[in-house]
C-alpha cells in the first residue's frame, strides 16, 4: 500500500508535467496565429523590420483592415464562405447521421458492403475527380453558384461522418429504440428525438472535422465558383497576393478576420461535447 499523501503528491507532479507539456504545445500551435494577429495591425515596414515584435504606438497601423474592408467585396466573400460552410455542414451531419443510423440499426442484404462503399471516400481524395466534377457542374449549369460548392463539400464530408457516426449509433441502446417503437414513435422520430440527441457529442466532433477543410478550401472555389458574386473568403483574399507585389497588411488582416467565424462555430460545437443529457437513460 502506498502512502496516500505521497501518491497524491506524485499525482500532482504528474498533472503539473502534463500541463506543462500541453501548455507548451498550445503556445507552439497558437504562435503563428498570434503572429498573424499582431502583424495585421503593424505598418508594412515594421512587419519586415521586426516581424516578431508587438505593435507599438509608432508602428501601429490599421491600413490592412481599411484596405480589406474598402477594396473588394469582402463582406460578400465572408457571407459566401459562411453560407457554403454552414449549409454543407448541415447536409453532412443530417445525411451522415441518417446513413449511419440505417447502417447500424437495420439488418439488410449488403449492409456491410454499403458501409465500406460509403467509407471509401475517406481514402480517395475528392480532388482526383475535379475534372469530372467540373464537367458535371457545367452540364448542370451550376458553375459559379454556391450550390455547386455545397454539393461538392457535402460529398467530401460524408464518408468520414458516416464512418464515425456509425460506430456511435451502434452504442445507442436497443432497448431505448424498442421502447419508442412500442410507444408508437415512427422510425424518423426515433432517429430525430432519441438517437440524434444521444450521439450529439460525436456529431460535434464530426462537425469540427468537417467544417475546417471547407472553410479553408481554395481549390473548389477557384475552379467551380471563381465569379465575383460567389467568391469565398479564401479565394477573395488572393487578390492581395500578387505575382510581384503582395499587400501583406491586407493579407494578414483578411486572415485575421477569417479566423473569427471558425472560432465561433467551434465554440458552439464544443459546448455540445458536454454529455450530461445522456445520463440516466439506461442502467
Amino acid at each position: 500500500m502506498s502512502n496516500p499523501i505521497t501518491s497524491a503528491r506524485g499525482n500532482l507532479g504528474r498533472t503539473a508535467a502534463a500541463h506543462v507539456i500541453l501548455i507548451a504545445y498550445t503556445i507552439l500551435a497558437l504562435y503563428p496565429v498570434f503572429l498573424i494577429l499582431i502583424n495585421s495591425v503593424k505598418q508594412r515596414r515594421a512587419i519586415f523590420n521586426d516581424p516578431l515584435a508587438l505593435p507599438t504606438a509608432e508602428t501601429f497601423d490599421p491600413i490592412g483592415f481599411q484596405t480589406v474592408l474598402e477594396q473588394g467585396n469582402f463582406l460578400l466573400y465572408f457571407q459566401n464562405s459562411m453560407i457554403v460552410t454552414v449549409v454543407s455542414l448541415f447536409f453532412v451531419l443530417l445525411f451522415g447521421a441518417m446513413a449511419a443510423f440505417a447502417l447500424a440499426e437495420y439488418r439488410f442484404r449488403g449492409n456491410l458492403l454499403m458501409g465500406l462503399y460509403l467509407a471509401l471516400g475517406i481514402m480517395i481524395p475528392i480532388r482526383l475527380g475535379t475534372v469530372a466534377i467540373l464537367e458535371i457542374m457545367v452540364a448542370a449549369g451550376l458553375v459559379n453558384t454556391l450550390t455547386s460548392l455545397v454539393l461538392v463539400y457535402t460529398a467530401q464530408g460524408l464518408p468520414l461522418a458516416v464512418f464515425i457516426l456509425q460506430e456511435f449509433m451502434r452504442q445507442v441502446s436497443d432497448d431505448l429504440k424498442n421502447a419508442a417503437r412500442i410507444d408508437g414513435l415512427s422510425e424518423y422520430r426515433i432517429f430525430f428525438t432519441i438517437a440524434l440527441p444521444l450521439v450529439r457529442p460525436a456529431m460535434a466532433t464530426v462537425a469540427v472535422f468537417t467544417m475546417i477543410p471547407i472553410w479553408n478550401d481554395l481549390w473548389f472555389p477557384l475552379i467551380l465558383a471563381p465569379g465575383e458574386a460567389t467568391k469565398t473568403l479564401t479565394l477573395g483574399s488572393q487578390i492581395f497576393l500578387g505575382q510581384y507585389v503582395t499587400d501583406w497588411n491586407a493579407v494578414l488582416a483578411a486572415l485575421s478576420l477569417a479566423i473569427f467565424p471558425v472560432v465561433v462555430l467551434y465554440l458552439i460545437f464544443s459546448r455540445q461535447l458536454i454529455r450530461g443529457i445522456t445520463k440516466g437513460a439506461v442502467k
Binding site: S173, A179, G184, G280
Partner: protein, 336 residues
C-alpha cells in the same frame, strides 16, 4: 381481455434456430414467467410477442387475433426493459405519457392517467424530474409506470430486476406481485432467476435451447418435474443427482433435493466427508463429498456445528426422490 396464444412459433437467425416450435397459451389475468439459462431464447420469445422480432413461422395470437405482422405499437402491449430504457431528455411525466400522446389521446386524459399511475407507484413527487436525477429503483418504477399508463392487454417484462441490488430486488418483486393483484393484468415475465419465477408466477414456462421443457404452476414443477433439467433448474439450492446404480435404484440418476436429506454420525446411508459449510442462521448448507456421487448439498434447518472434514452419513428421503433415465427423462418406477 388479454389472452396470448403461441402456435408452433419458430424463429431462426440464418441457419440457427433459436425458437423451435413453441406452443403456449396464457390465460387472461395470468402471471406467466419464462425461465431458463441464458441463451435459451426466452428474451427472443418475449420480443417476438412484442413484435420487435418477426416470427419465422407459426402464429402469435393476442385475444384471438393473429398479430404476426402487426407493429408493436398496435398490439396493445407494454414492455418493461432490463435497462429501463427511459427517454433521457424527457421528464418522468412525459416519459410515462409519451405512448398515450402518440396514440392521440387528449392532454387532460393523459395527465390523469399519468397521475393515477404515479400515485400507485409512489412517484408523484418526481414527475418533473429527468431520469438522470432518479435512483435505480425509481427509474425502474417509472419504466413500470410507463407500461401501466397505456392500459395494455399484455404486460411484458424483460428481466426487470436484474439491474437492481439485492434488497431493492426483493422489494420491487413484491411491488410487481401487488401490482398484478391490483390490475388483474396478463403478464409475461422473463427471468433467469428461478427464485423470481417461483415467487411471482401463476405458471412457469421452463425453456431450454428454444424449446419448452415444462409448463406448470411453481409447486407442480417443484414436486413433479418432467425431466432432469427442470428438476435441476427449479429449487434453490440445486437438486442433487446421485448415482443410481450405487444406490441400487433404476435409471441413471436419482434426484434428491438438499432439504430432503438428513445427516447422522452413524448407521446405514451414504458415507461422505464435509468439504464446506455455509451458516446462514436460519439454515445451514453442508457440502459433502461422497464417492461416487460427487459433491452433495444438504440443507438443514437452524444452526448446526459441522466442520470441514467431518465424517457424516447421509440418508436421502427416497419417497421424495426422482428417478431419471439416460436421456434425463423422468422414470416412474412402480413401487415394489
Amino acid at each position: 381481455m388479454g389472452q396470448l396464444k403461441l402456435e408452433n412459433a419458430c424463429k431462426s437467425f440464418g441457419t440457427v434456430d433459436v425458437i423451435r416450435d413453441v406452443n403456449l397459451e396464457v390465460k387472461d389475468g395470468e402471471f406467466c414467467v419464462f425461465v431458463g439459462p441464458s441463451g435459451c431464447g426466452k428474451s427472443t420469445l418475449l420480443r417476438m410477442i412484442a413484435g420487435l422480432e418477426d416470427i419465422s413461422s407459426g402464429d402469435i395470437l393476442i385475444d384471438g387475433q393473429v398479430v404476426n405482422t402487426t407493429p408493436p405499437s398496435q398490439r396493445e402491449i407494454a414492455m418493461v426493459f432490463q435497462s429501463y430504457a427511459l427517454y433521457p431528455h424527457l421528464n418522468v411525466r412525459d416519459n410515462m405519457g409519451l405512448g398515450l400522446k402518440q396514440a392521440g389521446q387528449p392532454k387532460a386524459q393523459v395527465a390523469q392517467s399519468v397521475d393515477r399511475a404515479a400515485e400507485m407507484l409512489d412517484l408523484s413527487a418526481y414527475l418533473t424530474r429527468r431520469p438522470g436525477e432518479l435512483s435505480g429503483g425509481q427509474r425502474q418504477r417509472v419504466a413500470i409506470g410507463r407500461a401501466i399508463v397505456r392500459k395494455p392487454k399484455l404486460f411484458l417484462f424483460d428481466e426487470p430486476l436484474s439491474n437492481l441490488d439485492a434488497a431493492l430486488r426483493v422489494q420491487t418483486r413484491i411491488e410487481i406481485a401487488n401490482l398484478h393483484r391490483e390490475l388483474g393484468a396478463t403478464i409475461v415475465y422473463v427471468t433467469h432467476d428461478q427464485v423470481e419465477a417461483m415467487t411471482l408466477a401463476d405458471r412457469i414456462v421452463v425453456l431450454r435451447d428454444g424449446r419448452i421443457e415444462q409448463v406448470g404452476a411453481p409447486m407442480e414443477l417443484y414436486n413433479n418435474p418432467a425431466n432432469e433439467f427442470v428438476a435441476g433448474f427449479i429449487g434453490s439450492p440445486k437438486m442433487n443427482f446421485l448415482n443410481a446404480s450405487a444406490l441400487g435404484a433404476p435409471g441413471k440418476s436419482v434426484g434428491v433435493r438438499p432439504e430432503h436429506i438428513t445427516l447422522s454420525d452413524s448407521g446405514a446411508g451414504i458415507d461422505g466427508r464435509v468439504s464446506h459449510v455455509e451458516h446462514l442462521g436460519g439454515e445451514t448448507l453442508v457440502y459433502i463429498n461422497a464417492d461416487p456421487h460427487g459433491l452433495v448439498t444438504v440443507r438443514l434447518f437452524g444452526e448446526h456445528a459441522y466442520s470441514v472434514n467431518d465424517r457424516l452419513i447421509m440418508r436421502p428421503d427416497m419417497a421424495r426422490a426422482f428417478h431419471f433415465d439416460d436421456n434425463g427423462q423422468r422414470l416412474h418406477p412402480t413401487p415394489a
